[in-house]
Symmetry: C2
Subunit: 240 residues, 2 copies
């Protein structure tokens, strides 16, 4: 396996590209303030993410998925509302937190300028457990253009099931060794690696706000380990 | 139903965006010349398309598809080789005609400048029976950026099956009345209309070269009927 064979980059998008923590924390604290509620909005934002991820990873293993990540965000919000005494939040506010906020997540500032450089050399696709609409809406908001969006919503098998990685390689008509998965999460990259992908770990120490990410240390098996996207472009020879 | 409700445009891509006729005719005549063969390459190009389409439309109706449009192009080529005494074509030449040529189709000249204008106002997705790779490769070659690529390859139900249109509306999280299907073919637009989509017929009188298209007269049920893409942008108020 050699990085010189790589033809396509597939990007985890939530977390690696999008700053979900700031997005959730901001709308939660604004909504709380309207109701005069004081809570640890930082922790609640992270809890929505944690619960949402838990509902999505490996979804479709035993039966077809019954919801997408928009549905999971809403279920996760309802749980934290109950657990944190936030029942005053109105239906409209709940929709804004669980739906509008993710569709308006801002992307990390080091990515938009690098994507076009990477696209000059590689096919660059979002490969994500987020819904198509979250990817399409956040791309439009942040001025990103993907070559394609491969949402597990269409595959019916979510990361980190092997079928998800195999299917994307099949759609790309590439051997997995011709693809590099890019993410800030070992669980995603480890799964991609086990299916034959190259892997690039891009560190996102602020993904969970002031908390350290749950698994911050890159697994040394990854082919590229970098601190940011300009460094990834350099490592891939895509920074003329 | 009103066009003012439209949020997304879904584009038939083969034929409507890409000039398959010139692409096939050029490589066929070049390959024939290498072998000193004279044939009606215009007609053979159209026959590859006709046979290919026949293998794709409604594919997946009764059982999961066993091939994508790249496979259909190759099968169609083998048929015209037999029918036209082109057995001298080598395996490499056959791959070039059936695979490389479609992945390098040029797009009609009126589209590239209009797509960014349409994207300012609408989500713009390729919604196609072509393979993901044909769309990704031709987009890169022609400088197009789609918001997403919805290939029937991932849906498993090909146009003009109703499930194809219903699934894309589901992924877009829109009512069909909030989507406008754009194509140069009545069969595609009629099927979209029957599922509640708005429809825009963009004429492509040269799609089949010197032949008139098989069904050139727009069905009057379509919401927009225009001669080219600048006119479509005008009709949709996306031409500032």
């Amino acid at each position: 396996m050699s990085l010189s064979d790589v033809r396509a980059l597939t990007f985890d998008t939530g977390g690696t590209i999008l700053d979900w923590h700031t997005g959730f924390k901001t709308i939660l604290s604004e909504t709380g303030a309207k109701h005069g509620l004081e809570r640890n909005w930082h922790d609640i934002a992270n809890d929505i993410r944690r619960k949402g991820l838990g509902k999505m990873l490996n979804l479709g293993k035993d039966e077809p998925p019954g919801y997408n990540f928009d549905g999971a965000h809403r279920m996760a919000l309802e749980e934290v509302i109950t657990e944190n005494g936030l029942e005053a939040f109105t239906e409209e506010e709940r929709h804004t937190i669980a739906y509008d906020a993710p569709h308006n997540f801002e992307c990390w500032s080091d990515f938009p300028a690098v994507l076009p450089k990477l696209r000059e050399k590689y096919m660059c696709a979002s490969f994500t457990i987020l819904s198509f609409r979250i990817i399409m809406d956040t791309a439009r908001r942040n001025g990103l253009s993907w070559d394609a969006v491969f949402s597990c919503e269409a595959i019916g098998k979510y990361k980190i099931l092997p079928e998800a990685y195999d299917t994307v390689a099949h759609y790309l008509q590439l051997e997995p060794s011709q693809i590099c998965m890019v993410a800030c999460h070992n669980f995603d990259l480890d799964a991609a690696k086990s299916r034959g992908y190259n892997t690039a770990f891009v560190k996102r120490p602020r993904e969970w706000g002031n908390d350290s990410p749950p698994d911050p240390e890159p697994n040394p098996i990854h082919d590229i380990i970098v601190d940011d996207f300009p460094s990834l472009a350099n490592a891939l020879g895509a920074n003329p």
